[in-house]
Symmetry: C2
Subunit: 325 residues, 2 copies
């Protein structure tokens, strides 16, 4: 029921996913509204979990947590919390979704702060940026957790062997950065991660590493700046094309080429962002998700389950607790 | 003598600027090398200031400060420090240049931390982002200084009346952000700046404000991410064009359209970045500056002098000291 295009597009996305994913898909929400969107389709792999309440997009996470057990968001999260589902996906209120996930699923032992991991395209496949916004203020040890979680995600969900982990900073040399990154550098160096040192903002799109670690303030700014830069560039190119007698006739073909390039910057192509560190796969979709984005989100969540993301995260953090204790 | 293309391109840029700018241009460096680049041209408005030493691009700012009076950088900065010039421009070692500017010119009374102000293109002209990298760790009051300096720069150099000042954060509402921005918000609200509250990463390219304030770590990441995103997008578009039978024939016209759009993201078009807060106009050029970038930098420095940037900064900070004292 959450997101700008719910429930129509979300249900449509679930129907698409049902054809491609070997899993049961539970749709939490108003049964009548959902049934109406299914328009007679009734795949055996889709079931409806009734929820009478909805967390609105603008509500504070706090309001969504307090005694609101019958929201579609709470019902969906509870399926994972109770072990009745392995993954939950929502395009709804992301703050409320993250708070509910952390509160009801709990965090994996040893994880100090769950973080949002964004899967970004790279020339060779994917890379991971985290934290993309869950923790505005971080301590150096949080960035170490992010590095560990990002490496597990890269290896077991995205299939990147021995992923290279970089620390987002200003200047490549050790000793460059702010107090947070300088302290985190030392801690990351002491782990058995494949730590490659500092990377810079431009490396977010380069091929110097597979996992990029930063605090949630910086990560969210990176995400928004990237979207903003891409959007203004596309507009400028379209304007330049419309002014040119030579280019105007090929504008449709060019629009297609731009769309293709843009899709690389579109998180919905990659199914949204994972909240790493909670006891279950929790995938935060874009509020503006359409059917394709919803399908991609379900597929991405399914991949994470198939790869054993949560089990591998538990192992890594348990092993570290063993070492430190 | 500094930068990847010195002295040839820098001297060529000075010759271009000499035709357009009503000012004396002093070139600090090896007189023979400079004369060779002038190739017989000898405009009355260009003079040579001899310097035998050069600060290399890789040297630490510390090494450049210590008893190195005869570097081209020190000689150029000293012209302003002594009052023999109003502005200094360098495409050389930027860390050394900033350290020398602050040390030898001194800071304007009341300015706690000089900051790098980047002039970015916007739909309606220009906007200012600061700090773009001088201060990796900031306190809330530093961001207030940045707001005051950025507003003076926007008004008296870029010609933006009553510039709107935004605080770069994550989330638009007051109360969103990290500890630094939340505290800075309250302080900025208490100034008589035209403060518009929080802006997000996407607003760097939007039209919601004229001055965007952030710490130097975040500002540098924004700058590098923007450059990286633009570069990867252009590559993807060029590749898509080369794969398309319909678009390949118009590739040259399209390349021109892309160049035009790219120039909006190219700091060299806008003359580099100003180090605001020191006692003179100090303009930090790109290391890769060519003649056009060097000319633009000289023109931008000249505009700052003509607009009375330093005098207006002194007035604003003196007035604030009066209010607070």
């Amino acid at each position: 029921m959450g997101g700008d295009n719910a429930p129509e597009q979300i249900v449509a996305g679930a129907l698409l996913a049902a054809e491609q994913v070997d899993a049961t898909i539970s749709l939490a929400g108003d049964p009548d509204a959902i049934a109406a969107c299914m328009a007679g389709a009734a795949p055996a792999s889709i079931e409806i979990v009734a929820a009478r309440d909805v967390v609105a997009m603008g509500e504070s996470p706090r309001a969504a947590l307090r005694g609101r057990d019958d929201t579609s968001l709470a019902r969906a999260v509870d399926l994972v919390a109770r072990g009745d589902a392995q993954a939950v996906v929502s395009a709804g209120n992301s703050g409320a979704f993250m708070a509910l996930s952390a509160r009801r699923m709990g965090t994996i032992a040893g994880v100090r702060r769950p973080a949002i991991a964004l899967s970004l395209p790279s020339e060779s496949g994917h890379r991971v940026l985290l934290d993309a916004g869950a923790n505005a203020d971080c301590r150096p040890e949080h960035l170490v957790d992010f590095g560990l979680m990002g490496a597990v995600y890269a290896e077991y969900t995205l299939g990147i062997k021995n992923p290279r982990v970089g620390l987002l900073s200003i200047g490549e040399e050790k000793g460059k950065g702010n107090e947070l990154t300088k302290a985190a550098y030392d801690l990351l160096e002491a782990t058995d991660l494949n730590f490659r040192g500092n990377v810079e903002g431009g490396d977010v799109f380069g091929d110097t590493c597979d996992v990029i670690v930063c605090d949630g303030f910086v990560g969210n700014v990176v995400l928004k700046v990237t979207e903003g830069a891409a959007s203004v560039l596309f507009r400028q190119i379209r304007e330049a094309v419309s002014r040119s007698d030579e280019l105007r006739p090929v504008a449709p073909a060019l629009a297609e080429a731009l769309r293709e390039a843009a899709s690389q910057f579109d998180a919905s192509e990659h199914g949204g962002a994972l909240l790493l560190g909670v006891n279950g796969v929790s995938l935060v979709g874009h509020g503006c998700s359409d059917a394709k984005a919803a399908r991609n989100a379900i597929r991405a969540a399914h991949r994470a389950v198939e790869g054993g993301l949560i089990e591998h995260l538990r192992e890594v953090f348990a092993a570290r607790a063993g070492e430190n204790g």
